[in-house]
């Protein structure tokens, strides 16, 4: 679709896009892989991949399908085994030439440098930011904002009929922090976050779609790019994340891992719905 066709389509569908129609910057699709002790877990199921636990093979596959970036979430429990993710990043970065983000267990500037030196482009900071916001400031000053993705795990805390309010939770959504999600996003931007990875803990794993109000609220509150995450079950969910939630990028795991859709299919579908994609 060229810009004119897109404009006509958007008009006909009454789709409101924040960028208008003349925005060639593509919306990104980011598959997320959970890595435990060097192996991809949560069962990626590609029938024709020999070793579905091998991060390099899976990253190569996603790259070939058109992934715009890849995010690795290191869920290794034992700190003794943390070094393994560094080798994973090194191996992937020598064969896959798209941006790589690594999250999980990033607590010091040294942790960040190790990941960047291994070939990561960005690191995700989550819990460490909540307990020590100054860390985000220090990190962005040392390595540059463009490398710092602050992960925000938010849950709706307002009751039905009340104005929407979301709070930051830690420990996989179990522990409330009392921090208002919108205030927190603004604060993290001011502290040097180059991007925000926003996960709705209400929707994570549900496959019923993003929390679009949350996504929209955070997008309207900050000027840095926002990645929407949590709840994707269909390709329409991806579309809504952009057209209604106004996300700059969408992150998903299971719909791609289980082969329900390829990334290419998702991108074509989004493009058909008037969203600028890299195809």
């Amino acid at each position: 679709m060229d810009y004119l066709q897109r404009g006509q389509y958007l008009y006909a569908q009454n789709i409101e896009l924040k960028y208008g129609i003349a925005m060639p910057l593509a919306v990104r699709i980011i598959p997320c892989l959970d890595v435990d002790n060097g192996r991809v877990v949560k069962g990626v199921k590609f029938v024709d991949i020999r070793d579905a636990g091998d991060p390099v093979e899976i990253a190569k596959r996603y790259d070939a399908e058109g992934a715009d970036e890849i995010t690795f979430l290191d869920i290794t429990a034992s700190s003794d085994d943390r070094e393994t993710i560094v080798h994973v990043v090194e191996d992937v970065a020598s064969q896959v030439f798209i941006p790589l983000t690594v999250g999980g267990g990033i607590r010091t500037v040294d942790d960040i440098r190790r990941m960047l030196n291994a070939g990561a482009d960005k690191v995700g900071i989550n819990t460490a930011a909540v307990f020590n916001p100054e860390f985000v400031k220090e990190a962005s000053e040392k390595v540059g904002s463009q490398c710092i993705v602050v992960s925000i795990d938010a849950k709706k805390v307002s009751a039905e009929g009340e104005p929407h309010r979301w709070e930051i939770f830690t420990h996989g959504g179990r522990k409330p922090t009392g921090l208002d999600a919108i205030d927190w996003a603004r604060k993290m931007e001011a502290y040097g976050a180059g991007e925000i990875l926003l996960t709705s803990m209400d929707r994570d794993g549900t496959k019923i779609g993003f929390d679009l109000q949350l996504t929209r609220a955070i997008n309207d509150a900050v000027t840095v790019p926002v990645i929407a995450s949590g709840g994707v079950g269909t390709l329409d969910h991806l579309v809504e994340g952009v057209t209604k939630g106004r996300a700059d990028a969408v992150l998903a795991a299971s719909i791609f891992h289980f082969g329900e859709y390829t990334i290419h299919e998702a991108k074509e579908y989004m493009a058909k719905h008037g969203i600028e994609m890299r195809l």
């Binding site: 798209i98 960047l116 540059g144």
Partner: protein, 216 residues
């Protein structure tokens, strides 16, 4: 042997650039990440990647003495500037309240925040400009060889280059404004986006560079 020096002035992540060069050279070139000015001068071609803020980049360059190696290389051999390695080639940058740069080419570096998102605008542009955007090749160049017009490359930046006059321009990109995303003169080519992170199009550009004789 084709020796490619990747200039390391102590900042940022050079591994991606070196890995991508090694990948495209397929053993036909020796890629050396180096902070040694002599090695830069001895190399057949030089890649100057940049990251971080303009002031830190300039300070690190000057403190390491590598600014001289960059100037020398720009005169003598195929030279590829990437991202901040492109921006510091001009006179000055608006970053960090004004930073003097290498002044190899006439021009300056400006801030997207100063020209995008005025209060009356309906369109809201995120800054940094991050993601895959189109690069329009405004004229032929050996480094564009085999890369389709308007191919997408991966960008991450908050400041953009404004070269003086049209002579340097080889690539343009649109993000609220049309800005210069690639420049070239003689043996120098410099690009705002990250070819080392731009999948097939980026790898092709790097591969072209490994074979380029420095003639435009």
């Amino acid at each position: 042997m084709n020796n490619i020096a990747v200039i390391d002035y102590g900042m940022g992540n050079l591994r991606s650039v070196a890995k991508a060069l090694e990948y495209v050279a397929q053993g036909k070139a020796r890629v050396q990440v180096t902070s040694d000015a002599r090695e830069v001068l001895q190399a057949d071609r030089v890649v100057f990647p940049g990251q971080g803020a303009a002031r830190d980049c300039m300070r690190a360059l000057i403190e390491s003495g590598l600014d001289l190696a960059v100037r020398e290389a720009v005169e003598l051999k195929p030279f590829l500037g990437i991202c901040m390695g492109m921006q510091v080639l001009v006179e000055s940058s608006a970053e960090n309240n004004g930073t003097e740069c290498l002044n190899i080419f006439p021009g300056k570096v400006s801030n997207f925040a100063d020209v995008l998102n005025s209060p009356d605008d309906e369109v809201h542009y995120k800054i940094p400009h991050m993601g895959w955007n189109e690069v329009t090749q405004t004229r032929d160049h050996p480094l564009w060889g085999g890369i389709a017009q308007n191919s997408r490359f991966y960008f991450v930046h908050s400041y953009y280059l404004e070269p003086e006059g049209p002579d340097l321009l080889v690539g343009e990109t649109e993000y609220g404004i049309r800005f210069t995303s690639a420049i070239a003169r003689d043996n120098v080519f410099a690009i705002q986006c990250h070819p080392e992170k731009s999948a097939a199009a980026g790898l092709r550009l790097l591969e072209n560079f490994t074979r380029w004789n420095g003639e435009a």
